[in-house]
Symmetry: C2
Subunit: 238 residues, 2 copies
DNA sequence: TCTCCTGCTTGCGCTAGCGCAAAGAGCAGC
DNA sequence: GCTGCTCTTTGCGCTAGCGCAAGCAGGAGA
């Protein structure tokens, strides 16, 4: 339960209050592939992940799946801030064996009222998440595919990387990376192959080892010749 | 000041409290093109628009501008939920003559503490905004350009449309529409021309009149042959 | 009325990236 | 070991949409 005190949601709360709140939660265990909640269902619970990792996916009307976000230990997911009775926005799928603390909506909102810091923290978390989502929009709207994939990889290294002989292993399939970057598994595969030739990454089955973060950063920033082969566009000169 | 009571932020507050809070605000008048705050500046204020319309823009490292959101009367913008001292996420530019009520960050946060409903409302607003941003991500990642432009137009009809002989006039330039849909002004112009031939819209200078909402909806949903000329993709059959 | 300016249209060429199909490569279970 | 399954790679063709440039047009101001 020590992890709870470090969760952004509980920052500033006394350990005693943390424990009080945690004691009201129901613990849920998920093995890889299991679903914590499903997009469109009535949002009955709010959860904080205590161990493991989830992906939050959405599926568009034509059946395309995209990954909106990964959730790691200490992070919040579920029906936060939604209007009562509203549906979950995502389907939460465990990427590995995970544990979650789950409160029913009513109980959680009662806690928000009782500990104002909690509500303040929730506001901060949503604001930060909104910032991230808008940044993603900006990137999808303006950046080329290689830049986006490189950026996704860099985020994943920080968020879900495990050290692996000299590099960092990111345990996601080509398809999942594609679903985070807004492209196809084919294109991701091709990019990985190119980057392997440059010594940036080592492709693995359902994973990739990142060796040269610096190099990926250059691609993500668009400084690499790989992403800016022609002439870059200029602003009008006065 | 009657509009304040209808602003989502103040929902559930007594008129008396509304007035109290409003009296602490500084009123600002903006004429078309003026800037209320600028991306990257220290976020000193929180604002509610009382009249007019703003666009919230971001510019990416390579100079591309995108429009993240429009703000209408009663809507909130500025430094909400940010960590103290953090920067504004957008530049707010008036699309027409506008009035805003502005609180300094400290005063606003004090009000949040004093009226818990206020904080609850802010949470709802951010959650809704997050939902919208994620939907936009999904669309940018999965939908084709004509679908996205049609969808932007439909949103604009509701958000910023003025009735105009039989249709609804949306007063944004091709470029601005492009910046909302993640494409170029050329492509938007071409689409408008096509749609004009179908009787869906009437292009105007720095504006467009939408005549057939239904037709645009079909394009946005991808049911129109215009957006799905080839074979649509299928899920694998068992 | 003429001029200028800014925004819009449209033709043209081009390429990034998609989508398919077929072949390879790990991994599990028998 | 062999078999089958799923994930991945890669060649190939194709087209949506970008980017430019040239010309058009609607307002504002002189």
């Amino acid at each position: 339960m020590a992890c709870l005190a470090q969760a952004p949601l509980f920052r500033g709360l006394s350990p005693r209050d943390c424990e009080d709140i945690a004691s009201r939660a129901k613990g849920r265990r998920l093995s890889r592939g299991q679903v914590l909640f499903r997009e469109g269902e009535c949002a009955a619970e709010v959860s904080v992940l205590s161990a493991g990792r989830l992906k939050l996916v959405q599926v568009s009307s034509d059946g395309q799946e995209i990954i909106q976000r990964l959730v790691g230990p200490g992070e919040l997911c579920g029906g936060v801030g939604l209007t009562p009775g509203g549906p979950y926005q995502h389907t939460a799928v465990a990427l590995e064996t995970s544990n979650a603390l789950c409160w029913d909506r009513e109980g959680f909102e009662a806690s928000l009222d009782r500990w104002p810091i909690l509500q303040r923290n929730a506001l901060r978390i949503l604001a930060e998440r909104l910032r991230a989502a808008e940044e993603r929009c900006r990137e999808l709207a303006t950046a080329k595919v290689p830049q986006r994939v490189a950026h996704v990889l860099l985020r994943l290294v920080g968020q879900a990387g495990r050290p692996e002989d000299g590099g960092v292993l990111v345990a996601l399939s080509r398809e999942e990376v594609a679903q985070m970057a807004g492209t196809t598994l084919f294109t991701v595969s091709r990019l990985f192959s190119q980057w392997e030739a440059l010594g940036l990454v080592r492709p693995r089955r359902e994973a990739v080892v990142v060796d040269d973060t610096r190099g990926l950063l250059e691609i993500a920033e668009g400084q690499s010749p790989l992403t800016a082969p022609g002439r870059p566009r200029f602003a009008a000169v006065s």
